[in-house]
């Protein structure tokens, strides 16, 4: 399994899902794909399709509407998979934590592997977070 295990670390395909974010973190996620940061050099490709994804990048706090969608998307990703909560809101609920329609952070609905705090997160922090998730994937014996 060594070859497949190594390949997993070298080719994480991400899928980006926006719960109810203010779009600040979403813009930073997309900034990672621009020529300045170019995450494709690590084999990271932005997929629009949960069935092809390995890593879920989730931004924004979970509300009662998006919880069902998030759960559905998570179930459609074939394992082994990683979930990264991008931004303060996705990690804890942030400034929206006590809104009447907000459940809180992403971990209220799906298991989260890496939390990236920041409002909004910097692209460097997102890349760091993905690298951390890959280290976790590498150390896990799947």
């Amino acid at each position: 399994m060594g070859l497949i295990h190594n390949s997993r670390i070298k080719s994480p395909w991400i899928m980006h899902f926006d719960n109810s974010s203010c779009n600040g973190c979403d813009i930073e996620v997309l900034a990672c794909l621009t020529p300045l940061y170019d995450v494709e050099r690590f084999g990271i490709v932005n997929m629009g399709n949960p069935k092809h994804a390995d890593v879920l990048l989730i931004t924004g706090p979970v509300n009662r509407r998006t919880a069902r969608v998030l759960r559905n998307l998570y179930d459609q990703v074939p394992g082994p998979k990683m979930v990264i909560a991008v931004g303060t809101c996705a990690s804890t609920g942030g400034v929206f934590h006590n809104c009447y329609n907000v459940l809180g952070g992403v971990d209220k609905v799906v298991p989260v592997d890496v939390y990236i705090p920041g409002c909004s997160v910097r692209p460097e922090a997102i890349i760091d977070g993905v690298v951390l998730a890959l280290q976790k994937l590498a150390s896990a014996n799947l």
Binding site: M1, L3, I4, H5, N6, S7, R8, K10, S11, W13, P35, D38, E40, R41, F42, G43, N46, M47, G48, N49, K51, H52, D54, Q76, P78, G79, P80
Partner: protein
């Protein structure tokens, strides 16, 4: 017999490596054209191995049968080329492969998959007549559909069939699903129909699809190389130049709609092809 067996195994083993490398070079050159650094050349192989190790999610069992059929027909078509068999059979096997992919798309209930399958049908409609005209052109020139006869001729096909060569370059773009004709799989526009016909392929089955694509690129570039078979290395250089040209077109062109693709392919491809064949028969006389 022994030699043929070795050739058979060598084709099945070596072709995916060449195809995968070509896709790796494709991604690297595309990145450089866009001012990015780009992934390693071996990236497609990492992707492939990762997909092999992913979980199997069955949406429809019928779909798996069609993905295997796509792969098998594609390999069969490539073997036709390598064993210098009948060009017409090669075109038909390639057609069966395309139809298998369409049926794989139709065998799930996802609307994106259905949209993609419909568009894949349009793509087949766009390139298949051109390939058939190429077969007729080869017949008009050599008096036989056999690929081995092309290798026997000392005069390269490109001198008499250059209009069909231009038409085949269109086929190459459509077959590679590159930017002006990035229609069925929606490679660069996830917002439109997610991933089109391959939306529901996941894990190991998506890896099989990629494997079939690697065979396909070798096959289509091989068809381009047929235009100059004596000596063959000139043909291979022409094929590689055509490949680089496709990458350039991919990066400078916008995505177009499916009806536009069919219209362009039929007007340019069919007119060039028919004129070409008519000219050959006029100069040689119908025998």
């Amino acid at each position: 017999m022994m030699r043929q067996l070795i050739l058979l195994i060598a084709t099945i083993v070596v072709a995916p490596f060449i195809g995968g490398l070509l896709f790796g070079i494709d991604r690297r050159i595309t990145a450089r054209l866009q001012g990015r650094f780009g992934p390693p050349i071996l990236q497609p192989f990492y992707d492939f191995l990762k997909l092999i190790g992913k979980e199997r999610i069955a949406v429809s069992r019928l779909q798996f049968v069609w993905i295997y059929a796509y792969l098998v027909f594609m390999v069969g078509s490539l073997l036709c080329l390598v064993f210098q068999s009948d060009f017409l059979i090669l075109v038909f096997l390639l057609g069966f492969a395309g139809v298998s992919l369409v049926l794989a798309g139709f065998s799930t209930k996802s609307p994106y998959s259905h949209f993609g399958a419909n568009r894949e049908l349009l793509q087949i409609m766009a390139y298949e007549p051109v390939l058939l005209l190429l077969a007729i052109g080869i017949y008009a020139q050599n008096g036989t559909f056999l690929i081995s006869e092309i290798f026997n001729q000392s005069r390269p096909l490109i001198f008499s069939l250059w209009p069909l060569f231009i038409a085949v370059l269109y086929v190459l773009t459509i077959k590679m699903r590159k930017s002006p004709f990035d229609i069925a799989t929606s490679h660069h526009a996830h917002q439109e129909i997610v991933k089109g016909v391959i939306t529901e392929f996941s894990g190991p089955y998506y890896a099989l699809y990629q494997l079939a694509e690697w065979y396909e690129i070798v096959l289509v570039l091989g068809i381009v190389a047929l235009f100059w078979t004596n000596p063959l290395w000139v043909g291979i250089l022409i094929a590689l130049a055509a490949f680089l040209l496709e990458l350039l077109i991919d990066n400078i062109a916008a995505r177009m709609t499916a009806p536009w693709m069919v219209r362009l392919s039929w007007t340019v491809g069919l007119i060039l092809g028919v004129l070409n064949i008519a000219y050959i028969y006029f100069t040689k006389g119908v025998s």
